[in-house]
Symmetry: C2
Subunit: 409 residues, 2 copies
């Protein structure tokens, strides 16, 4: 529908006339009032009026109280809002978010709205190109403990992770600017470790350093980090706002991929009745705003997200979207090598396998943790069962991991 | 507890060992691991370790599934995060927000953390001073319809509202930068109407113009609006992030009060199981970030918020908080003159009575709508019942309002 952004909501109400509710949304969030307007004015205002596209009421004869809901689609004229995400979100879900049990499920932005968004600067293919890895899932690892540790410790942790053959290492999202490991020194120390490890492994590596601090200084901090050698950034998008990510990713001087962390997302996606769906919050909006990689809860760990939601996030990052580059899906939490075949089955090979405890907790140490993952990835791509692969000579790291954590298929 | 910010959570789980859970939060969100650290290292890391302050388990013998919960207080060392709200929020609720049914109820920031926040530049007293009104609740009104209307229409709406004796007029939060009523021209047109009305009524007026657009240009837009005559700003804080409000309110060149709009808040506060309490989201954090006035759902309209939550928001705006100025509470939605005595009973006189339909929908017109509210406020302050006051000669506007909407006490 050209010139309109379409919002899909699910709203629960045991008694509401959902048709009336849909119309009141379409009018209330656009022209304010409609039926009482003089006909001449209607002709003039029609281009500003929201339109109800569909109403699908889910009503079971034996529904318990609280179970009756409707999915409603409303089209909002682009002409009503500026082409930025705060304006779009405030239009479609600003006041409405407080109007009873209602959840924003999806947003289909118009071609014209999307044209203001360059999206990911590197995207999935760009990240693969930087690493020179095109034929397998990537492997990311996370520092074990960071708060209170000094540069030497972080450098050591980094080196051990890098030795295991990981493709990306990311800061912990709670590592802020601090006197022990300040941004530029941290970048220098870790990139030095990356070079030493590359001399051993022949493997390139991206280090996503956590971009933090006052909003107005983020771009300058990013440039400082890049000048110090950083080749990727981690960013707590929801703590700052999508528009901040959009501005960072659109900035030509910020010439490295940005990984979006989902911190705070659990305040918005898990309730069936309120908030914003994970696929929109961590999928489509992150991609529109320019995230090259997006972390989100995996279906395997303690972090709770039904598997269809994990996959919906992945789909939002990879499906066609107004010609934007795709973002690399990074399902996170609870990942160990024994899960690799399942991850590839669920997410395909265009995925980043991201592990923390599954690398650092390896019985033979951190480097062996990375190796076990790489061995598991190779086996899964070749269609060899992990049990068989673990028995191969040279795959002792995988064998130890399988002994420690088992295999889940 | 000096040097620590304290977070209070409510977490639901039918079986969890809440003691274990609390410790895993306190350790996991700070030093990462603890029991396995060598003693010498513990001595060094102790200052970074989170502390469990209290665990209060609510467990009824006959609890239905899903009803068992605990309130947990964790103290986070200031030394772990930079003194900005994104860092604090990511620390205490970044990853944790995604860890099952858990809601962030409150944050008690330390004196040292708070010292980085000047808070409201004007606050409640400053807003009163600008208006020269110290002895009564203020009256705010909202444009009726704004999207698709031109400058002449908005100016006319503004003038009629101003004639009724309102103290503040705010833009609709969905009025963005647009060719019909661009920011500076809108400010000029409305402030001209304000001057004309003041000549009639002798009454000062603040016009909160909606500050929108790209994050990095907000401060410049605010200055443009102020140069054009704007004497207040409206800001969709949650669509941009608290830190953006903090930076705007700390900017000495932005010399007018900022009213925080709660747009998007419903994505986070209504669920009992997830998100952030209204008192924190719309109360304490808005004030810390520097909002001079804060709009939030009233307990009287269709927008759903249990009354104890409305009052908790108000309390967070008005209670002592590290010496910060108080923020003016603006409970909004569903307000008509017949509610004024109840509003004053619930919120006291340090409140902004905020109406849209209750002013524009007045049977005698918009100006009479404002007058009816002012008459209701006078009556309530003098302890005269609205029914009696409405019968007074000169109070025809109130009489018409009472006839139209009734009185709710």
């Amino acid at each position: 529908m050209n010139g309109y952004c379409i919002a899909t909501y699910r709203t629960y109400d045991d008694k509401a006339d959902f048709n009336k509710k849909a119309i009141s949304i379409a009018v209330g969030l656009t022209v304010g009032s409609w039926t009482e307007l003089p006909e001449a004015q209607k002709a003039n205002m029609e281009k500003h009026l929201g339109k109800v596209l569909s109403i699908s009421v889910h009503e079971l004869a034996d529904a318990a109280p609280g179970e009756r809901y409707a999915d409603i689609q409303i089209a909002y004229p682009d002409i009503n809002f500026s082409r930025d995400l705060p304006a779009l979100l405030v239009t479609v879900f600003g006041k409405l978010s407080m109007d009873g049990k209602i959840k924003l499920l999806d947003l289909d932005v118009s071609e014209s709205f999307a044209s203001a968004f360059p999206g990911p600067k590197f995207g999935l293919d760009g990240v693969r190109q930087l690493l020179g890895v095109h034929d397998r899932p990537l492997l990311m690892s996370i520092f074990k403990s960071v708060v209170g540790y000094d540069l030497a410790n972080l450098q050591d942790q980094f080196y051990k992770q890098a030795l295991g053959g990981v493709d990306l290492i990311k800061d912990d999202e709670i590592l802020f600017e601090n006197p022990l490991t300040p941004l530029e020194k941290r970048v220098e120390a870790c990139m030095e470790a990356a070079r030493r490890a590359e001399a051993e492994t022949g493997q390139k590596l991206l280090y996503a350093v956590n971009l933090t601090g006052p909003t107005s200084q983020l771009a300058a901090s990013a440039r400082k980090a890049i000048d110090a050698g950083a080749n990727a950034l981690l960013f707590n998008v929801l703590a700052y706002g999508y528009d901040v990510l959009h501005e960072l990713s659109s900035d030509s001087s910020i010439s490295v991929p940005i990984a979006a962390h989902p911190a705070m997302a659990g305040a918005m996606y898990p309730s069936p009745h309120y908030g914003i769906s994970a696929a929109l919050l961590l999928g489509k909006l992150m991609r529109l705003a320019g995230a090259d990689l997006v972390l989100f809860p995996s279906p395997y760990g303690s972090v709770v997200m039904p598997k269809e939601e994990n996959l919906a996030v992945k789909d939002a990052l990879l499906s066609p979207l107004h010609g934007l580059r795709t973002s690399f899906p990074v399902p996170s939490a609870g990942i160990h090598p024994g899960l690799v075949p399942l991850i590839l089955k669920d997410f395909g090979t265009d995925v980043v396998v991201n592990a923390g405890g599954g690398i650092h907790g390896h019985p033979m140490g951190t480097a062996a943790g990375g190796q076990a993952f790489r061995q598991a990835i190779s086996a899964a791509l070749e269609g060899i069962s992990l049990r068989d692969a673990a028995a191969h000579p040279g795959n002792e790291a995988l064998q130890a991991a399988v002994n420690a954590w088992g295999i889940r298929e």
